[in-house]
Symmetry: C2
Subunit: 489 residues, 2 copies
Amino acid sequence: MFESAQLDRKISRLEFDQREPDLRERLLDAQARLQTARFSVVVVVAGAEGAGKGETVNRLMSWLDARGVQAHALGEPSEEERERPEFYRFWRRLPARGRIGVFFGSWYTQPVLQHSLGHLNDAELEDGLRRILDFERMLEAEGVLLVKLWLHVSKKQQKKKFKKLEKNPETAWRVTRQDWRYHKTYDDFIGSAGRALRRTDTGLSPWHIIESANSRYRDLTAAETLLSAIEARLEQPVEEAPEVAPLPVPLPVNVISSLQLNQELSEEEYHQELPHRQMLVGKLARKLHRRQRPAVLVFEGADAAGKGGAIRRLTEALDARHYEVVPIAAPTDEERARPYLWRFWRRLPRWGQITIFDRSWYGRVLVERLEGFCGPADWQRAFAEINSFEEQLAESGCVICKFWLSISPEEQLRRFQEREQLGFKRYKITAEDWRNRDKWAAYQAAACDMVERTSSDLAPWTLVEAENKYYARLKVLDTVEKALKKALS
Amino acid sequence: MFESAQLDRKISRLEFDQREPDLRERLLDAQARLQTARFSVVVVVAGAEGAGKGETVNRLMSWLDARGVQAHALGEPSEEERERPEFYRFWRRLPARGRIGVFFGSWYTQPVLQHSLGHLNDAELEDGLRRILDFERMLEAEGVLLVKLWLHVSKKQQKKKFKKLEKNPETAWRVTRQDWRYHKTYDDFIGSAGRALRRTDTGLSPWHIIESANSRYRDLTAAETLLSAIEARLEQPVEEAPEVAPLPVPLPVNVISSLQLNQELSEEEYHQELPHRQMLVGKLARKLHRRQRPAVLVFEGADAAGKGGAIRRLTEALDARHYEVVPIAAPTDEERARPYLWRFWRRLPRWGQITIFDRSWYGRVLVERLEGFCGPADWQRAFAEINSFEEQLAESGCVICKFWLSISPEEQLRRFQEREQLGFKRYKITAEDWRNRDKWAAYQAAACDMVERTSSDLAPWTLVEAENKYYARLKVLDTVEKALKKALS
């Protein structure tokens, strides 16, 4: 992997001084054009200690317009980061469209380092790399330009660099005992790194391995690599609006159509049952808080399916200190400028907290799919992206329940009419609500697709027969109770 | 203060059950109307332990539509919060327009508690209350509806409540040793609280003191208080667009006009001097990082005054790991939905980090003032708001430098023309740039106003004679060096 990075390439000071002004002009120009483009740039700067990652980033930053770029040096995660899945810290730093984010200390750091130190076995490394691939494929598909730079030094050069830094009293502090320890395991590190690079060297985002013994060669090459990548992307024709896929046709018998929507439960039985069920959920939620575990509850379903009512019966059981209800409507402009899952990552609960999503990331494979807000390729890949997202959530210790509240179109009509008669502003039925009814069958088919492709042990869907709202509310409470009990046992 | 909250008011279960449904309807209706209104609602729930703050909030939350309200129970600040000024944790949780935020554990908690325990003396309490008043006045002026509820229990009732909770094995865990310690200092607590309430009981956001021994009375009264406040605000006529103030006329001699804009410094001297100055700043910046102190640098000045160039010479001296450049242009919609300082609070540096604002909160008293984006009352109050903001920043250990880069209109014209000839897209001169030239004198006058009203020892303005860009860049470096040296000595 690193053979061609040991050719002792150098650039003289003279040549450097000649090339620098032009390079800088072109970088600034590319950055100006990027500002109004529809993509963002994520630069990963990786490599062994002593390769000069920090120096390279500093030089890059001095060439770029600082107003459009941000460097992220990721050391130890903060407390707020530790309480979320591992990738949270990367997600929260993703640049908006038109901007560049430079990550040194990236999602590669820990897997490669831990494997080289023997703390991860091969299978575990591979598993980490699979996650990285998922993440990077998602970034690319969302229009992020990913530029991955590996700064290479040989073991000998590394030693030389450390010695040189140590000799100068100005820079001696930069070489730590840890660095010398890393030096001893250099070969293991390069072995692990080579494996990681080969596995993640993809057509869309290849690794650029840069020989780093000569700092002028290294920095010029890094900048030129970044520049070519941005220029090439700027030249690409802007994609046309995605073609709209034909509406899906539901199978005559499917998981949703075969639900017995109208379950028996009298109002009286409900009122008898409710306080007890709420008490049970409340107790378990307190335990969840004491144990410092997070939970995510997702509610989906047609308009007027009773999501709000079910959520209310649930939150009545919870302590207001420990939950948040996040209603998902149109994204804000900060959200639109980033990959679509960003808005959900930023709302993930801390330890001991419950976040209830009233509609969710599943909008991607429901409304966005059916209304053509994203192309077929987009919603098709969303299933895998969502599974990966939920897998990470579950692994971080988060309890996940997902509810699909199901009613018939006739029941929806009845509820719409009832609401219109009430005349409260909050029950206003909009033209869009009526329009959505026309696509009822397609929505059901999309929901079937969704349930089949995204139900897992860790993040199961619960289909809720919701024509009898009393039954639906108790079923939600019951499911949450069981899920919490299982997670806490 | 609390006399009228010891009248032993009660509401029977029967009456409660009668009043609850109607109250809930009205709350939901008010919330639906709030959703499209131009203001947000901040509810503070305060009171002694045992008054039932948590219970009241839970009940309120169960009555409201959870999708439009968020409860914030503030316990210990997180690491990311501890590294910013004290009010950061409140700012970051301010609700967007159309939403309700319920704070229990608010900006009152610490001053009142610490004073009652003798950890703050009277003057320190008063100082804390002054800050609270500043904050609340700002919220009100920015259109936030502030509803402050104080739940009152007597010492006797508090004891009774604790005993009752302890007796029941289900709730015994809720009474801690700390609670009993607080009980012993009840009288001191009420003394401190009374003082705080009297000082912060203002016309626009009065305190509502609610007798809390009877939970039904307490919760109904809390909800009705909130409801009346929202309903009253909804009835208020929407304010018309603010009247535009006449453009300020500059005094013939002022702090800016008396600058000798064209200072002597040859290009050669500059290139000789620059590396040394950068080295000095770089060293101090590393020390700042090691000492874990933050810094905020603000750059203001006319278009083409050389802000970008000066910032670049500064960042060249810094480690990319330790700074961020924040360009301030039009706010995002998330920012527009909150008080104008929110967008700056959210970008404040953590310990050891430097944030460089390329334009800043001073836009309020410059472009927003002159273009009529805010009314005269708004920019007039901004001076005090900004001073309070910077005072808090400085108190939290942040080093602050503010630069006004000053050039003549003739020099600006020359630079515009030069840029147009270069033809790079990044130097495009927009129609707006030309328009702004017409208001040159007014901008200068506004800048004078700004410098006079917001320069302080802790956050001084440095006026930079910027016609000679070499001189300007060195002066900026020099000023930063001195400020860092002073702060770190």
